[in-house]
């Protein structure tokens, strides 16, 4: 029989915490895009109508500007940004093309159900250079989707509508259950937006894309209710160590 003098104590298993799965996914996608050549820029969550809507060719009559869709603050003097696109506007006003920016963060819309929340996260990217075409956009989107879901994933592009891109597209992936799931929106930057940012649209064109982090996180982790991400429940968070 061995002596207990020779026995070493059990290894102390230190508790590890976890990065929030939304931030973890956001960081992973941002890092991927940085590796493609995009530069990270940042902007405020409290925005003006000018940057959130006007500069992006979202007309005064657009439904998104209604009080039932957008949170306004301080007697309508400002609003909670409804997307991260205004960061790109600020970036384009600051730097001259060629440019390639990404921005990620919280955005706000007046929704609240199992698949929508008043606060969620987006990553958007923009690239402005000479002779950028829809065929280039497709190449970039394929690279992003393949990196996120693997090269076996089937994807499709559907025409869509965003005031700040033309042509516009939504991209779906085919789930293992054979269902098409929308994962991102994209398009060529509407020349009106370039001109709003003092970029000559006859010389330059651009591509832009945006994706909702929660949507992709729900798909990747199999989370059915978006609200689970924000209950701060340790039983939930501890699964993402």
């Amino acid at each position: 029989m061995s002596s207990n003098k020779d026995i070493s104590a059990p290894k102390i298993i230190k508790d590890r915490g976890s990065i929030h799965p939304i931030n973890h996914l956001k960081d992973s996608i941002m890092n991927l895009l940085v590796s493609f050549g995009f530069e990270i820029i940042d902007g405020p969550e409290i925005e003006t109508e000018k940057f959130n809507f006007d500069m992006l060719n979202i007309k005064k009559t657009h439904p998104a500007r209604q009080m039932h869709d957008t949170f306004y603050v301080e007697n309508k003097s400002n609003l909670l940004r409804t997307h991260t696109s205004p960061v790109q506007i600020r970036g384009m006003l600051e730097k001259r093309p060629p440019l390639a920016f990404i921005s990620g963060g919280k955005v706000y819309r007046k929704d609240d159900d199992a698949t929508h929340l008043p606060m969620f996260h987006q990553i958007e990217g923009i690239l402005v250079d000479k002779n950028i075409s829809f065929a280039h956009l497709k190449d970039l989107i394929y690279k992003i989707v393949y990196s996120l879901f693997g090269e076996d994933i089937e994807l499709r592009f559907r025409p869509s509508y965003f005031p700040f891109t033309e042509p516009s597209a939504e991209v779906d992936i085919l789930s293992s259950e054979g269902k098409w799931l929308e994962i991102l929106g994209c398009g060529l930057v509407n020349p009106v937006v370039l001109e709003n940012c003092n970029i000559d649209s006859n010389s330059y064109s651009g591509l832009a894309f945006g994706l909702g982090i929660e949507r992709i996180a729900m798909l990747k982790h199999g989370v059915k209710d978006i609200r689970d991400f924000y209950k701060s429940n340790l039983d939930f968070l501890s699964q993402f160590k």
Partner: protein, 636 residues
């Protein structure tokens, strides 16, 4: 919007299957689901022109030979004498009124009209309203039918700036407020323009003389009204998305034709007011630009053929945009038309190379702090910024989702405290949380932003035998943080539990620091663990209570010690959520090791019972009892 397959296909010469049409619609960007041969369409907001059979057929005509020339009434019409004044001509630049009297109300509808109601499972109202709904389905232009005998005065169209009660034809009473474009009869609202008509002047099943109003309203006057007044209105859905400003007379004549096909018309007269000519958009032909935008190489002939099929009038110099395509203004718009026709998925990829950017490090300090906290057992949370209480410099949301949460939070700690209490209520005995977020407030009449890190912790220091009996305290956290980040000042404080609804007595320790206060020394922290690289399949969590069991063993024969520990720590059962060593004592003098394990059980579908727990524990005990030299003190 619902459109029946058979209503579409009867105008398509090739007689395609529902699946073939569905594929074409997807390629064109018209999302839909199919239920029992009905397309449930979801159009993008710029394609108001597609909100009808004819509109959809116009788009499909790029793939098929389509004939949408429904018969219209071609005879000359008498001029209607009507007392009408338009005080908002900019919003309504064109309007027609048709007065029509019939001999008898038909007791049977023609097949096409019957099929519309039957196939789409719609309720019939009255003869004229039924035709109005059908015509709108067929060509996208809403019309409104008044019982002409109830119109006995001057009709005025204007923007009303006064509150007025209005009862809709669906018998819903609404209080019009702020500004609304309305039709007034003797100063009383009879129609919320483009949304819904009023009950007082509506048609009934006995109406034989109808006054049909057919107008073009600018979308800005209609947008938001149906939501504001909680009215389901197909008319407003169409007007919000732009109807064809040139189709009103054709619509009226189609209306008359359908009436004529059902009964004898005794009298009919029409008046059209056109205050402004509709602008025609012309875009120069430039195939090179189109190819450059899409990244294709199509010929000019191919390009112009596609546009012709879509209803554009083309010549070698210009492309004239049809009146129903308000969404087409630029070369990029035309490029999208061509890309849709080619099919986005048929456009070849062209490799893109982006020059490497300067690496940004704006998140590096934050990331280092995250990894440091992760290494020390802290979980990151993300909280909603909306809170119920604010201070004088808090930012107030004008239109909160919940009126009890109308402020933006001015600190992170309060949210973390709520998170901590939530987890305490879920029997968590070791809670360590952090959040990094922007905080907004008003400073010098301006929006001020600061980026904060907040940390909160309470309960046991950890789930291992060294930390289990230690309680998290200010001193504990101070020393933990100082050891790794000696030059940073965290200023931990104890939060009082006095006003908290909890029976737990553990100290709550927190701190909230401005990220800008951290020095670059943080960057030298060398992280131990990193977040997982592969994605974790999440298991749904249970809200049911835990059951906890502790088992303490006395080990006197050490040869089987490792095997014994491994057995317990790797024991698997669906109901066993966690097992860890909470106590360990090596008594060298007595040649005995005492080791305690904690088992945490939880069921996902019902409250776990004593019997369930006992059964699992018995399996473990039975196994251990067979090992010589290991006993459970006190167990008979």
């Amino acid at each position: 919007m619902k459109i029946a397959y058979r209503h579409l296909v009867e105008y398509i010469n090739e007689n395609p299957s529902i699946e073939e049409i569905s594929d074409c619609l997807f390629q064109l960007g018209h999302e839909h689901e199919i239920e029992e041969n009905i397309f449930n369409m979801e159009f993008t907001p710029n394609r108001g022109d597609c909100l009808s059979i004819n509109g959809l057929l116009r788009d499909l005509s790029v793939f098929y030979n389509v004939n949408t020339n429904q018969e219209i009434y071609n005879d000359k019409l008498n001029k209607l004498e009507i007392d009408f004044e338009n005080l908002s001509q900019d919003i309504c630049p064109q309007i027609s009124f048709l007065k029509l009297e019939i001999e008898n109300i038909p007791n049977k509808y023609k097949d096409y009209l019957n099929d519309y109601f039957k196939d789409l499972n719609l309720n019939k109202n009255n003869f004229f309203t039924d035709i109005s709904n059908y015509v709108s389905y067929e060509n996208g232009q809403p019309t409104h039918c008044y019982d002409a005998n109830k119109i006995d005065g001057k009709i005025v169209f204007k923007e009303l700036h006064a509150n007025q009660e209005f009862e809709t034809l669906l018998e819903k009473k609404i209080n019009l407020s702020d500004k609304n474009h309305v039709f007034l009869l003797n100063d009383k609202v009879i129609n919320l323009a483009g949304v819904v008509g009023g009950k007082e002047t509506s048609c009934s099943i006995d109406t034989k003389t109808v006054l049909v109003e057919c107008a073009f309203f600018k979308p800005e006057a209609i947008i938001g009204k149906s939501v504001k007044y909680d009215i389901q209105s197909e008319a407003s859905y169409k007007f919000e998305r732009f109807v064809d400003p040139e189709c009103q007379e054709k619509t009226i004549r189609r209306f008359i034709k359908i009436v004529e096909e059902h009964t004898n018309i005794k009298d009919v007269s029409l008046i059209t007011y056109k205050y402004k000519k509709n602008n025609v958009t012309k875009i120069p032909v430039n195939t090179n630009v189109i190819n450059q935008i899409i990244g294709t190489n199509i010929s000019q002939n191919e390009y112009l053929t596609y546009l012709s099929k879509l209803g554009f009038i083309v010549n070698d110099e210009n492309i004239e945009v049809p009146s129903y395509r308000s969404d087409i203004e630029t070369q990029n718009d035309l490029a999208e038309e061509i890309a849709r026709v080619i099919g986005y998925d048929n456009i070849e990829r062209n490799e893109i190379n982006i020059p490497k950017a300067k690496l940004s490090n704006i998140y590096d300090i934050e990331n280092k702090l995250r990894f440091f906290l992760l290494d020390h057992g802290f979980y990151e949370v993300i909280n909603s910024p909306f809170v119920g209480t604010g201070s004088s410099n808090s930012i107030c949301v004008d239109n909160p989702l919940d009126s009890n949460k109308k402020f933006l939070r001015s600190n992170l700690t309060q949210s973390l405290l709520e998170n901590l209490l939530f987890n305490e209520r879920r029997q968590k005995d070791s809670i360590k949380l952090f959040e990094i977020s922007d905080i907004y407030n008003i400073k010098d009449n301006k929006v001020n932003v600061s980026r904060k890190l907040a940390v909160i912790a309470s309960g046991r220091a950890g789930h291992n035998y060294r930390d289990f009996s230690k309680k998290i305290s200010k001193k504990y956290l101070d020393s933990l943080f100082r050891e790794s980040l000696p030059s940073e000042n965290f200023e931990f404080k104890v939060l009082s539990r006095d006003s908290l609804n909890t029976k737990v007595k553990n100290e709550i320790i927190s701190c909230e620091v401005d990220i800008s206060n951290f020095s670059t020394d943080v960057l030298s922290y060398s992280e131990i663990s990193k977040p997982p690289e592969s994605f974790i399949e999440y298991s749904p969590i249970s809200d049911l209570p835990y059951s906890i069991r502790d088992l303490s063993f006395s080990v006197k024969d050490f040869t089987e010690l490792d095997k014994f520990k491994k057995y317990i720590l790797e024991f698997k059962h669906d109901l066993l959520k966690e097992v860890f060593i909470f106590d360990y004592f090596n008594n060298e003098k007595n040649a005995e090791i005492k080791i305690g394990f904690r088992f945490v059980f939880q069921s996902s579908d019902s409250t776990i019972t004593e019997t369930q727990v006992n059964n699992i524990i018995d399996v473990i005990i039975k196994h251990i009892e067979e090992i010589d030299g290991i006993t459970i003190p006190g167990l008979n």
